[in-house]
Amino acid sequence: MADGILFEERGIPAAAVITDAFRRTADAMARTQGLEGYPYVAIPHPISSLSPEELRVRAEQALPEVVRLLQEEVAG
């Protein structure tokens, strides 16, 4: 989250991807960086136990949202 926000501050489009177990930390980081409500993509947890094929499915499911975030102007 911090990296995504810092990229955007420097004019580099970014899309933060987390698993849904980390929502609370992601929201806290957005507040800390002064961008409450900064949007991110939350995919189902867990992922570290997935096979490469299962991980690819998750990535494909998340892709449209990632593209949308990369195209969106960030307020703040």
């Binding site: 911090a2 980390f22 609370r24 930390t25 806290a28 980081m29 800390t32 960086q33």
Partner: protein, 348 residues
């Protein structure tokens, strides 16, 4: 107490103390236990112990936009229950933690590592740090409060608290306070700080990432190999294995009985560490059975032994505890580096 005239003012003072403690809870400054209210005059007493600019930044977490100044460290040491003379140790500890590898990320890690703090040298007696019986347990103010000061700095100066930035899946009670002294008097070998190039009469603080404590029982043999194989077996438990490009480490806190039996058999500290390193690991087949073989060559035979650490230096060996039974402790970690810093003399 026998002088009845003082009863009422004392009761009033105690009520005020309780209100001050409750105020600290309301501010979100505690680790769940009560803290000493960090009144300005208490903080000044602590600052008077060191020759440092109170506004000097000693440790920052840039990604959070947070930093710890000398003054903030003093306020948290007050809250932890330290005495003013503990403050030079607290500062040396914080600077050592700053210099640990991955000091940015591991306070927030899901693994939930704590920082083990080890005190060496004359400061142990001067300030009452315990290195003997119950060395990891509650009961000694210096150990309890100096270790706790680090946790309060992490929570208050950096804002890394449970339910937000501290993402520990389960954590460890070692996060409250994890501070021991080495039992140099009953150790048959040179103490940790001397091994690292400091003089015996210098005092140091050593810090290491650690995941808690795992006791090792071996009361049935005097043979060094038996004792050390039990310790190595505990170092090598499968669930603690974490394939890491930096390599695993381990901290061994050997009880004096074990250390003395091994030393009487003629073993040097170096030989002990080399032996532990040889046996620190698992067979490839066992790692495959545990689905922990991700980084392994698929052609490696099942019976091949996979060492977890890159060299004997990845094992930190300390002697602490009581000489009353054959018990040692392994503190698992996957970050093998540790940092030792000299504790400066107090300003008189």
């Amino acid at each position: 107490m026998s002088q009845g005239v003082r009863t009422e003012p004392t009761r009033e003072a105690v009520r005020e103390a309780r209100a001050a403690i409750e105020y600290c809870y309301e501010q979100g400054w505690t680790d769940g236990l009560p803290v000493v209210p960090p009144a300005e005059e208490f903080v000044e007493e602590f600052l008077a112990q060191v020759d440092r600019d109170p506004e000097e930044v000693i440790f920052a977490q840039e990604h959070l936009g947070r930093k710890c100044t000398v003054r903030l460290a003093a306020a948290n040491a007050v809250m932890a229950g330290c005495r003013p003379e503990h403050f030079p140790v607290v500062l040396a500890m914080l600077e050592a933690v700053r210099d640990l590898p991955v000091s940015r990320g591991l306070f927030q890690s899901t693994t939930g590592q704590a920082v083990l703090v080890v005190i060496n040298g004359p400061v142990r007696q001067e300030l009452g740090f315990n290195g003997t019986d119950n060395v990891f347990s509650p009961g000694d103010r210096a150990n309890a409060t100096v270790g706790r000061a680090l946790r309060l700095v992490v929570m208050n100066a950096f804002g890394i608290r449970p339910h937000t930035f501290d993402q520990s899946t389960q954590g460890t009670p070692a996060k409250y306070s994890f501070c021991i002294a080495e039992n140099e008097e009953e150790s048959p070998w040179e103490p940790l700080h001397v091994e690292r190039g400091f003089r015996e009469d210098e005092s140091t603080v050593t810090v290491a990432w650690a995941r808690g404590t795992m006791p090792v029982e071996q009361r049935d043999s005097k043979q060094p190999e038996h004792i050390l194989l039990n310790i190595a077996d505990s170092m090598s438990y499968g669930g603690g294995y974490f394939p890491s490009p930096r390599g695993h480490g381990s901290i061994v806190v050997m009880g004096p009985e074990h250390a003395q039996l091994i030393a009487e058999a003629g073993w040097s500290k170096h030989r002990v560490r080399a032996f532990l390193w040889e046996h620190f690991g698992r067979r490839a087949g066992e790692l495959r059975r545990l689905a922990k073989a991700g980084g392994l060559d698929p052609d490696l035979p099942d019976e091949a032994f996979v060492r977890f650490a890159h060299a004997p230096e990845a094992i930190t060996l300390i002697v602490a505890g009581a000489r009353n039974a054959g018990v040692s402790t392994v503190c698992p970690t996957f970050v093998w580096q540790t940092v030792t810093r000299r504790i400066p003399a107090r300003r008189m």
